[in-house]
Amino acid sequence: MGSLQFFGWVGVALFAIGLLGVVVRRNVLVMLMCMELMLNGVSLTLVVFAQQAAAAAATVLVFLAFVVAAAEIAIAIPIVLLLVRHKRSLDLDSYADLNG
């Protein structure tokens, strides 16, 4: 079997790529998907650590994170829909109304 170190690093990479996507991409939907990617990176890391420690808790936590992800997307999507209806745009730069 392969090196756990490598898969742990893959989880971190997925998380970092997701965060980078949130920072650099302008499309709101793409940003949402990048957040999902971050969650996946975290899940992978959890699974890897669960393998090392042989702990059921980590696995259960991954399952619960899935549920939370589902809940998150269920609310995020309507919000995006409302934003688009309001601004007629998916460009995040047009949402900068809350500037100080």
């Binding site: 965060l19 920072v23 650099v24 900068a96 100080g100």
Partner: protein
């Protein structure tokens, strides 16, 4: 000394309080009849009770009454009671306060008949009586102090009774503030006594100072501190400035508070604490000096005053100075004696002046009077009797008490001296002179009134003249009651100095001669249209100006104390302290917050990308730091 418990003392004190509450709360609704009934009835009832208590003292006088009304509060083992104490000294004071007080209440029903605030006036007057009785009956210095402050409050309210006039309101404030300065000394004295003696009950304090070993505190220091308080209340130099201004109040108030009762509280205090002063020769010397100086300077000012009430006010200050002189030479009984006679004749003078003012429709300047003797005969005769009494013409009351003081000023074994006697004699001469001058200018000679005023002149109603007659009668016979002898047990008179016994008759003769000389002088100077007095005035213009300006004490206080205080308040406390330091600090803090907010607000661009980037760099930095250091 066997003390008998009683409840009457509480009743004496509470009756006027009930009057205050009834008149103050309901007086305006229930009408003048009710106000008069309550306002005069309750003080008279208090007087009757005081007489009852006085009779209870018993013929042997070997009894005193103690009434513990209420335990005010207790702290640890110490407890402070509201207790009333009735010995012969308290008895004399209580009888004066309730007796003269009742008379003046009755007089007020005539004098204040047409005033809009009739009920308020009687409420205040009853309030004053309540506090004054607390002052004279209190056993503890604490209760006395409550009364002391309370009469100050009542005095303030009554001086500023016609508060629509800013000048009168200012006079009220001046009286209050000047009294506060004296009270600071009084309070310090109380603290000192409590920390060293451990009690504030006055009989116990006296006993502690009389016992051996004496308390570990300088009796003179305590005495001077207490005397400072007495100075404020009794208008002695340097705190005498408030009393002349206090004449802004209604005239019966001047008679009751600023002549007969409240201003004598200082005399009562020193007499009551005589146990301390007997062991404080330095404090006694200070008292004698201050008292005599006050008596002399006030008398000189009174010679040139033209306002009828101002003359009487300075006369009051002067007479109080006499009382303090007596206290200073250890003749406590003589001081209380003079207090007692002074209450009668000075109340009579003030009420007479009130009657004159009433007749003149509010005019107080004696230069615009003259020839009133025939028009208002009752007022004239009572005024003349009281004038003769204060001048010391035998056999009227003032003669006995003043003679006693002058005698002890010369011969007391506790600091009497020829110098004190000489100044006291000159002051007595001045007293006689300015009082007869007042009598002459007001009642004799040609009328200097305007036609209109002359037309209105009328004798006062019976409620006023009746009181005048009673007080004049008391001024006549009051002196035959030998108060010093009556008080001998509580306030023993000092021993006469070696070799001075023979001078007693000389002093009596001198007193009579002085009084008559004053009368003659006033008659000579002011008899023929005051032409001779006018010549004297022109001959010494500077002296006249200084006297008329009351030695410029007010102006000096203003320049040396008032102005620097204002300057410090304005520059240091207001402009620097408040505006720059406090406001400045707060404004700087606010500006800092605003500036920081403006800077931080830049970060709030509304750009989610930037926020996400900040999260990214934040996570990286936090991780970097924690991995380096943890």
């Amino acid at each position: 000394m066997n003390a008998a418990p009683t409840n009457l003392l509480t009743a004496i004190v509470l009756l006027p309080l009930a009057g205050f509450l009834l008149n103050g709360l309901l007086g305006n609704r229930l009408g003048k009849g009710f106000v008069t009934m309550v306002g005069c009835g309750l003080p008279i009832a208090a007087f009757a009770l005081a007489v009852k208590c006085f009779l209870d003292l018993g013929p042997g006088g070997n009894l005193l009454l103690i009434d513990i009304a209420y335990t005010w509060f207790s702290a640890g083992k110490e407890s402070f009671e509201i207790a009333f104490y009735f010995d012969r000294l308290s008895a004399v004071m209580a009888l004066i306060v309730t007796g003269v007080g009742s008379l003046i209440h009755v007089y007020s029903t005539g004098y204040m008949k047409d005033d809009r605030s009739y009920a308020r006036y009687f409420a205040y007057l009853n309030l004053f009586l309540f506090f004054m009785l607390m002052l004279v009956l209190g056993r503890s210095l604490l209760v006395l102090f409550v009364g002391w402050e309370g009469v100050g409050l009542a005095s303030y309210l009554l001086i500023g009774f016609w508060f629509e006039d800013p000048e009168k309101a200012a006079a009220g404030k001046k009286a209050f503030i000047t009294n506060r300065i004296g009270d600071a000394g009084f309070l310090l004295g109380m603290f000192l006594i409590y920390t060293t003696v451990g009690t504030l009950d006055m009989d116990r304090i006296n006993a502690a100072f009389m016992a051996t070993p004496a308390p570990m505190v300088s009796a003179s220091l305590v005495g001077i501190l207490l005397f400072f308080g007495a100075c404020g209340k009794s208008a002695q130099i340097p705190l005498h400035v408030w009393l002349p201004d206090a004449m802004a109040g209604p005239t019966p108030v001047s008679a009751l508070i600023h002549a007969a009762t409240m201003v004598t509280a200082g005399v009562y205090l020193v007499a009551r604490m005589s146990g301390i002063y007997l062991h404080a020769p330095e404090a006694s010397a200070v008292i004698a000096a201050v008292g005599l100086a006050t008596a002399f300077f006030a008398a000189t000012i009174a010679v040139v005053q033209t306002d009828i009430k101002k003359v009487l006010a300075y006369s009051t200050i002067s007479q109080l100075g006499f009382m303090f002189l007596a206290l200073g030479v250890g003749a406590y009984g003589a001081a209380v004696f003079h207090l007692y006679t002074h209450a009668f004749f000075k109340a009579c003078l003030f009420l007479g002046a009130g009657s004159v003012i009433h007749a003149m429709s509010g005019e107080q300047d004696i230069r615009k009077m003259g020839g009133l003797a025939k028009k208002i005969p009752v007022t004239f005769w009572t005024f003349a009797i009281a004038t003769a009494a204060i001048a010391g013409i035998p056999p009227l009351a003032g003669f006995f008490s003043k003679d006693e003081i002058v005698w002890f000023a010369l011969a007391s074994g506790r600091g009497g001296s020829a110098l004190l006697f000489a100044v006291a004699a000159v002051t007595a001469l001045l007293t006689s002179f300015y009082m007869f001058r007042l009598l002459w200018l007001t009642f004799f000679g040609a009328s200097r009134m305007t036609k209109e005023a002359e037309h209105h002149v009328h004798e006062s109603p019976p409620s006023m003249t009746g009181v005048l007659v009673v007080l004049a009668g008391l001024s006549t016979v009051g002196g035959f009651l030998s108060i010093p002898h009556f008080l001998e047990r509580e306030l023993p008179l000092p021993a006469v100095k070696e070799g001075f016994e023979h001078y007693e008759h000389f002093v009596v003769a001198a007193s009579i001669a002085i009084a008559l000389a004053g009368l003659a002088g006033a008659a000579w100077f002011f008899g023929s249209g005051a032409a001779r007095a006018e010549r004297v005035r022109l001959a010494f213009p500077t002296l006249h100006r200084v006297l008329l300006g009351k030695y410029y004490v007010d102006e000096a206080y203003q320049a040396w104390i008032g102005k620097p205080l204002l300057w410090i308040s304005e520059r240091v406390f207001l402009r620097f302290g408040d505006q720059r330091l406090f406001d400045g600090t707060l404004h700087a803090l606010a500006a800092l917050g605003r500036g920081t907010a403006a800077v931080l607000g830049r970060i709030q661009t509304g750009s989610l990308h930037l926020y996400a980037f900040l999260v990214l760099s934040g996570i990286a930095t936090a991780l970097w730091w924690s991995l380096r250091h943890v």
